[in-house]
Each structure stands twice: as structure tokens, then as C-alpha cells.
């Protein structure tokens, strides 16, 4: 109760101070508009921005599904074969670690502007964290479980389906939680760099046009959308883990 009150108070105080700063002319309203100027802008841009947001979320969703499917399968494949894991893991870790922005110009050269590079780059962002997590989880599966299953005559198929898969579910969920933000990030970066549609493009063009109230309103819109998605996933995760016991 006290916590909620303090959170609410914080938001109000921050908005109030911001409004005051803008009203007193301590910052140039051309660059930092007051909250009271952003609210009408939110209404003004709602048509275009919602369409842009839908476009971005659609691309991010495709990228996300691809990165989960590919990341989990690659993680299981590489993680469960000892030789493959030993040979590939330094490469995977290196690819996970390097800033992917460096290859973005090249991706755009190859795939052009628009939807395809956005999906590809978003997938690239989501794929590696998921794969690294799943790979580690597969490696750390209790050896005893595997040995017991084997000695009780489990086939390879049963070993994967009945032992490995249930054991790595928490890591897969953790990877899925991480992947969402990464995919969205990747799609937004491409839209800013070489977009023709979508929220990243919308944000970039408001910034280039010095339309600060619209820019802040659009930023708030994307932020709220991504926070909502992440909180919803967290909630789902919690429910699932309670169901698992």
C-alpha cells in the first residue's frame, strides 16, 4: 500500500517538476516540451503512431517466433552433442557478445530497406541469448537422470522428449523473456536506420522534423507498449511456474 502510494507520488512529482521546468523556461520547449503539451500531441499522432506501432509489433512478433524456434532448437542440438558444443561454443559466445549494429549496414545492403532486414536483424538479436541460455541448460541437465533413463531402456527420442525437454523449460522461459526486448530493439534499430514504416521510422522522422511533443508522445507510446508486453510475460511466467509446482 505504502509502496504503491510512493510510486504514484514519484510519477506525479516527476511530471510536476518537468512541467515546472518547461513552464519556467529553464529548458527550450523546442527540445523538451511540457507534459501538458505532450498529452494533446498523443491524441494528434494517435492515428499514424498506432499504425506504426502495429507494424513494428508485427515484425517483432515474426522475428520473435523465429528466434525462439531457431534458438531453442540450435541450443538443444549444440548443447546435447559434446563435440559440437566444445567446438562451437566460443563462436556462439563471441557472436552473442559483439555489437550487432556493426553488421547492420551490410544487412541493409544485402536485404534492402523495409520489412525483411527488420525481421532478420530482430531475429539475430533474439536468437543468440536464447541459444546461449538453452545450450547451457542442456549441458547442465543432471547426468544421473540421463544415465537412469538410458539404463531403463529409453530411446534417444524418449531421452530428448521426456528428460531433456522438461529439464530445460525454466531456461527456455528465461530466454523467451529476454528475447522479447531484444527482438523489439532490433526491429526498432533497423526502422530508425533504414525504415520506411514502423515506430522506429516514426520516431526518427519526428526527431528530424523537430516535432518534440509528437516525438515524446510516440516515445511514451512505445515504452508503455513494451513495458506492458514484458509485464504480461512475467505474469504468464509466474502462473506457469506455479502450475509446474
Amino acid at each position: 500500500m505504502k509502496v504503491r502510494a510512493l510510486q504514484l507520488a514519484t510519477v506525479i512529482v516527476v511530471l510536476g517538476l518537468w512541467e515546472l521546468t518547461a513552464r519556467m523556461g529553464w529548458v527550450d520547449p523546442l527540445f523538451v516540451p511540457a507534459p501538458s503539451a505532450i498529452a494533446p500531441a498523443l491524441v494528434r499522432i494517435s492515428g499514424g503512431a498506432v499504425a506504426g506501432l502495429a507494424d513494428t509489433l508485427g515484425k517483432a512478433a515474426v522475428a520473435y517466433v523465429l528466434s525462439v524456434v531457431l534458438g531453442v532448437s540450435a541450443g538443444i542440438a549444440v548443447g546435447s552433442v559434446r563435440l559440437l558444443r566444445d567446438v562451437l561454443s566460443p563462436y556462439v559466445i563471441a557472436l552473442y557478445g559483439i555489437p550487432k549494429i556493426l553488421v547492420l549496414p551490410w544487412i541493409v545492403l544485402l536485404l534492402g530497406y523495409g520489412t525483411t532486414p527488420a525481421i532478420f536483424y530482430g531475429m539475430l538479436h533474439g536468437f543468440f541469448p536464447i541459444m546461449v541460455l538453452v545450450m547451457g541448460a542442456v549441458r547442465d541437465v543432471d547426468r544421473t537422470l540421463v544415465t537412469v533413463a538410458r539404463s531403463l531402456g529409453a530411446t534417444t527420442w524418449q531421452l530428448y522428449w521426456k528428460v531433456l525437454l522438461p529439464a530445460i523449460v525454466p531456461s527456455v522461459l528465461a530466454g523467451m523473456r529476454l528475447g522479447v526486448v531484444f527482438c523489439l530493439l532490433g526491429v526498432l534499430v533497423v526502422e530508425m536506420f533504414a525504415g520506411v514504416r514502423g515506430m522506429g521510422y516514426v520516431l526518427g522522422s519526428y526527431a528530424n522534423g523537430f516535432q518534440a511533443p509528437e516525438l515524446f508522445a510516440a516515445t511514451a507510446l512505445v515504452s508503455v507498449a513494451s513495458i506492458t508486453i514484458v509485464l504480461a510475460l512475467d505474469h504468464l511466467n509466474e502462473k506457469l511456474s506455479r502450475w509446474r509446482g
Binding site: 514519484t10 527540445f31 566444445d86 551490410w106 526527431a207 512505445v222
Partner: protein, 248 residues
């Protein structure tokens, strides 16, 4: 031994595939390794980009400034939230929620406010580096067993001693991990900022080479930038090891 051999064989195979594929496609798009080597030589001998050292220096300075700010603010914010129970419970989740926003959405606003020069890159690098540091401090403080603090206090340890001898060693592991992640994200923030819009720095050079379809120069510039990125992480990992030795 065989593993190392296989790793090298894989690398050689990938380079060979890249070489063949790079020669087959349009030379404006595909750059085989054999074309990267002369481009890299020209770059390092300052033939293709004579102002390379100045740009490297600028990027490094942006990273240093962003990281210094992120460490200072992250530590301060983390400790305030960690030491104060109510503040931590109220603002911790808000911080975590903001961390869930793909940070790049803030960048256009930062660019509008700070302009195209170094300040907007510093601000963006700071923003990316701040969150993992603050959240690591917060998580680290939560790891410290309250019993240890109580016992130390019962034996007459003052606040400074408790902090130095009990809390810091207990949370160091998490704290140093956060500092390392923070550095990596500061570097990424600065590079992303430069590529999305700048007049100088490695990102500006990369954009220049890309825009003119000087793809071989672009690959060479990316390799130089990668050396900077990897170098910063190696430095951080050495410091991390030192810190861990100190706790043991």
C-alpha cells in the same frame, strides 16, 4: 587439442566459404577476405581514412565519459535503493520496468536535445550502462546476509567497517558483473548512437563507407571497431578477475 584443431578448421572453412561467396556476388555487396586485407592495410596506414586516429580517440572518449557517468549514477542510485527498504521496494520495480523498454526508443529524443555531436552518444551510452549497474548493486545488497551485518554490529563494527568488511565482499561478485555488463552496454550505446546519426567517430566513418558503397573499407572499419569493443571487454574481465581474487 582436437577441439582446438576443429575450431580452427571451422574458422578456415567459414573463411573459404566467405571467399567463394564474396567473389560470386556483386563486388559492391560481397567482400571476400582477400579484399579485406588490402583495405585493412590502407586503413591502418591512414591511406583511406587519414583522420582515423582522431575518430578512434573521439569514440573512446565518448565511451569513457558515458561509463564514468553510468558508474557514478548507477552506484549512487543502487546504494540508495538498496539501503533504504521502502525506496527500494517502490523504485526498484520502476527501474526494472524502465529497463524493459528497448533503450533505442530514447535515442531520437536524446539526439534532439543534445544534438548530433558527442553529447548525445555519451547520454545514450550512459543510459544503457546505468541500468545494469544500478540493478546489480540492488541485487548485490539483497544478497548480503542480514545475520552477518547484525553479528558484525554486535561485535562493535561501525558503519564503514560493516560496509568494507562485510557488505562489499559479499556483494562484490554481483557488483563486478554488473560493472562489466555496464561497460559492454556503454560501448554498444556509443557505437549504436554514432551509427544512427553522427558527424564524427567510428560510427560516422562506418556510415560514410557504407553510404558510398565502399564495402571493403566498411568491413575494415568494422574490424577496427571490433578490436576496440573486444579490447574493452578483455580489460573488464581482467579487472573482474582481480576483484574476485581480492574477495578470496
Amino acid at each position: 587439442m582436437t577441439v582446438v584443431g576443429l575450431r580452427l578448421a571451422l574458422l578456415a572453412l567459414l573463411l573459404a566459404i566467405w571467399e567463394i561467396a564474396g567473389r560470386l556476388v556483386n563486388p559492391l555487396l560481397g567482400v571476400p577476405p582477400s579484399a579485406v586485407v588490402p583495405a585493412l592495410r590502407d586503413l591502418l596506414l591512414l591511406r583511406s581514412y587519414p583522420d582515423l586516429p582522431a575518430n578512434i580517440l573521439l569514440t573512446l572518449r565518448e565511451i569513457a565519459a558515458a561509463y564514468a557517468l553510468a558508474v557514478a549514477a548507477g552506484l549512487a542510485c543502487g546504494f540508495v535503493l538498496g539501503m533504504h527498504r521502502l525506496a527500494g521496494r517502490a523504485w526498484g520495480p520502476m527501474l526494472a520496468a524502465l529497463y524493459a523498454v528497448p533503450a533505442v526508443v530514447w535515442y531520437p529524443s536524446l539526439m534532439l536535445f543534445f544534438g548530433l555531436d558527442a553529447a548525445s552518444k555519451v547520454a545514450f551510452g550512459f543510459l544503457l550502462g546505468f541500468f545494469p549497474i544500478a540493478l546489480a548493486v540492488l541485487a548485490g545488497i539483497r544478497q548480503v546476509s542480514p545475520q552477518l551485518v547484525v553479528v558484525a554490529r554486535a561485535y562493535g563494527a561501525g558503519t564503514v567497517t560493516v560496509f568494507r568488511r562485510v557488505m562489499l565482499p559479499a556483494m562484490l561478485f554481483t557488483l563486478v558483473g554488473g560493472l562489466r555488463t555496464g561497460l559492454a552496454l556503454c560501448v554498444i550505446g556509443v557505437v549504436v548512437g554514432e551509427i544512427l546519426g553522427s558527424k564524427a567517430g567510428m560510427g560516422a566513418l562506418i556510415n560514410h563507407a557504407y553510404g558510398l558503397l565502399r564495402t571493403a573499407d566498411y568491413v575494415a572499419l568494422v574490424l577496427v571497431t571490433l578490436v576496440m569493443v573486444v579490447g574493452s571487454d578483455v580489460l573488464a574481465s581482467l579487472l573482474e578477475r582481480r576483484a574476485r581474487q581480492w574477495t578470496e
